[in-house]
């Protein structure tokens, strides 16, 4: 457990949470409490953030693609699997710090991270 996390970092049901910021397509910023252990897609859905997640987190659509800040990207404990990388290549607006967030669980280390919904229309395959 992270000793720096005070009581405030527990949601009403007692699950530990961290603060995460989403920036949506319109540039609007949403700061939300994310339960440790949930996937980042669950967090976005629970808070009504416009992350589509069309395939329901089954690694088949790439509509849960979000862009991380470089420092935050390095905090994600699990690097992307081959299957995630395969699908990520089909995502639009792909960057070096892109991930499919249905594959990422919230951890203690993610306090304060910022996630951006891609807005670029370029198709990664048309390079």
């Amino acid at each position: 457990m992270n000793p720096e996390l005070g009581l405030d970092n527990y949601s009403q049901k007692g699950a530990k949470t961290v603060n995460i910021t989403f920036i949506d397509r319109d540039g609007d910023t949403f700061k939300v409490a994310a339960k440790v252990g949930d996937t980042l897609l669950d967090v976005a859905k629970e808070n009504d953030i416009d992350v589509e997640g069309a395939c329901g987190g089954t690694l088949a659509c790439s509509t849960c693609h979000l862009i991380f800040e470089k420092v935050d990207f390095d905090k994600i404990p699990e690097t992307a699997t081959d299957e995630e990388l395969d699908l990520l290549e089909m995502a639009y607006g792909l960057t070096d710090t892109s991930r499919l967030v249905c594959q990422i669980d919230v951890t203690d280390e993610m306090e304060g991270i910022v996630l951006k919904i891609p807005t670029e229309t370029r198709d990664a395959r048309n390079l």
Binding site: A54, A60, T63, E83, D86, Y92
Partner: protein, 480 residues
């Protein structure tokens, strides 16, 4: 749904809560957007518009009695996860601001000018209902099939279910190396015990069980660096049980030094092709096999005396620039033939014009537009008319790219609504007012009953058994 007559607004003025409620639902002035086509482009345009503008109501008008476009009739049956997107689309259909009008073909059952009398804006999202032709002799031979129609056949698209699919020969050739070609190859090669658990149509399953096809050849006009399929689909094909993938080592030798210089979207794909081409193959097993062949352009579809395909003649190509992704193929004047009993043309879908008064680019086969707003051929903007998805960008891109594209169109419509350049309405209306009596329109409730029936016919093992006749669909809807 909006079926409560608008005069209720006056009737219930005594309750403050209800006044506010009805105002938000039937605010005196609202915009109506008619969306033509219920594929991903139609749904994602609707989704984004409803989110951006609380004063908008959307009608989705679909040619078929069933919604979801290529998610139902294109996406392969063994990709059920991809079809999960239907859950999100269905939630939209349950929204009181969104209505579904199925079994109405715009351009045939209803005209654009009729639609404009009732809608502030029309979004054309009708996809690509045709495909590109090779324009070579023999293209109409028996046994030479459009991959698009074959996909429609195994997925139960009413107009394609009676396609004559003869799988009694050993070799099938697929022309084109995109993801549709991969889908066709995978359906031909996958053991039917695996397909039995999918929503593949029963008639296709029965035919595939009897299939004698042992060898599928995927032929591209350019080289391995220029393939159009994506890595996920290739990997899936390579993982198929009891199937051997044959890649000629020499075709891939030149790739080794350039792999590390390739852009991200190519590097891993080409690496996988290269590595696969190095593997020694188990030729002693009785496996079915997939061959990937390059630098061959079909020139003649050859037939037997009964007009049935028996081989294809190809011209051998070379590339203008071997190491470039965007290079062209040039014929060398050398020819060779591949014998086969069935072959597929999988060289891309194609959109067609459905409305005379709508500008159409006959070279790119798309509706000319500026960020989704239709433009006349002289570049001026067409008031109130928009396009979205494959009809706007051409028939390329997965659902994720279609979604992003649809969002752009919705944002363009919203801009015009905000600038107050489009007509608003203060009365409710039903599209049925425009449709001749006796024409069976399909609403969301009708579709739900058909959906339930299909799921029940699927029984224990299949997610659903699709109903493939429009008449039968209507009968089921009428009986519920």
């Amino acid at each position: 749904m909006f079926s409560i007559p608008i005069f209720q607004n006056v009737y219930i003025t005594s309750s403050r809560f209800l006044v506010r409620y009805t105002r938000s639902l039937f605010s005196d002035n609202h915009y109506r957007v008619g969306i033509v086509g219920s594929g991903p482009a139609g749904f994602y345009t609707a989704q984004r518009l409803l989110k951006l503008n609380s004063n908008v109501r959307v009608d989705i008008i679909e040619r078929l009695p069933t919604p979801f476009g290529l998610v139902r009739y294109g996406v392969a049956p063994d990709h059920p996860e991809v079809k999960n997107v239907i859950t999100n689309f269905t939630n939209l259909l349950k929204d009181t601001r969104c209505r579904f009008y199925g079994n109405i073909s715009v351009g045939t059952d209803i005209s654009l000018s009729q639609l404009f009398t009732y809608y502030s804006a029309i979004v054309l999202a009708y996809g690509a209902d045709s495909d590109r032709k090779l324009e070579i002799p023999g293209e109409n031979a028996k046994g030479f099939l459009s991959a698009r129609r074959f996909v429609g056949w195994y997925n139960g698209l009413p107009e394609d279910v009676s396609l004559d699919v003869d799988l009694s020969s050993q070799t099938a050739v697929i022309i084109g190396q995109g993801n549709v070609a991969i889908d066709v190859a995978r359906i031909l090669l996958t053991p039917t015990e695996q397909l039995e658990k999918t929503d593949i149509c029963n008639h296709a399953l029965l035919a595939l069980r009897e299939s004698k096809i042992q060898r599928v050849v995927l032929v591209g006009r350019r080289g391995p660096l220029q393939v159009a399929f994506t890595i996920k689909e290739l990997r899936e094909l390579l993982k198929l049980k009891q199937i051997t993938t044959l890649l000629t080592k020499e075709d891939h030798d030149f790739l080794e030094p350039i792999i590390s210089t390739l852009p991200r979207g190519r590097k891993r794909l080409i690496e996988l092709l290269y590595k696969t081409s190095r593997q020694s193959l188990h030729t002693e097993t009785s496996n079915k096999c997939l061959e990937i062949s390059y630098l061959r352009s079909p020139t003649i579809i050859n037939t037997n005396t009964e007009g049935k395909i028996n081989s294809i003649t190809f011209e051998v190509n070379k590339l203008q620039d071997h190491n470039s992704i965007n290079t062209k193929a040039i014929g060398t004047g050398v020819y060779e033939t591949i014998e086969c009993g069935i072959a597929f043309r999988s060289i891309g879908y194609k959109s067609i014009p459905i409305l005379e008064s709508v500008p159409f680019d006959n070279i790119k086969h798309v509706i000319p537009n500026e960020r989704g707003k239709v433009t006349h051929l002289d570049g001026t903007l067409y008031k109130g008319l928009y396009c979205s998805g494959w009809i706007k960008r051409g028939p390329v891109g997965v659902i994720a790219s279609t979604m992003n594209d649809a969002y752009e169109t919705a944002e363009r419509v919203h801009e015009d609504l905000t600038a107050d350049t489009l007509q608003s309405f203060n009365t409710d209306f039903k599209l049925s007012d425009l449709i001749p009596e006796g024409h069976r329109m399909v609403n969301y409730t009708d579709w739900s009953s058909l959906d339930t029936e299909e799921v029940s016919r699927g029984g224990e093992s299949k997610p659903r058994e699709k109903i493939t006749s429009i008449q039968e669909m209507i009968r089921i809807m009428n009986n519920k």
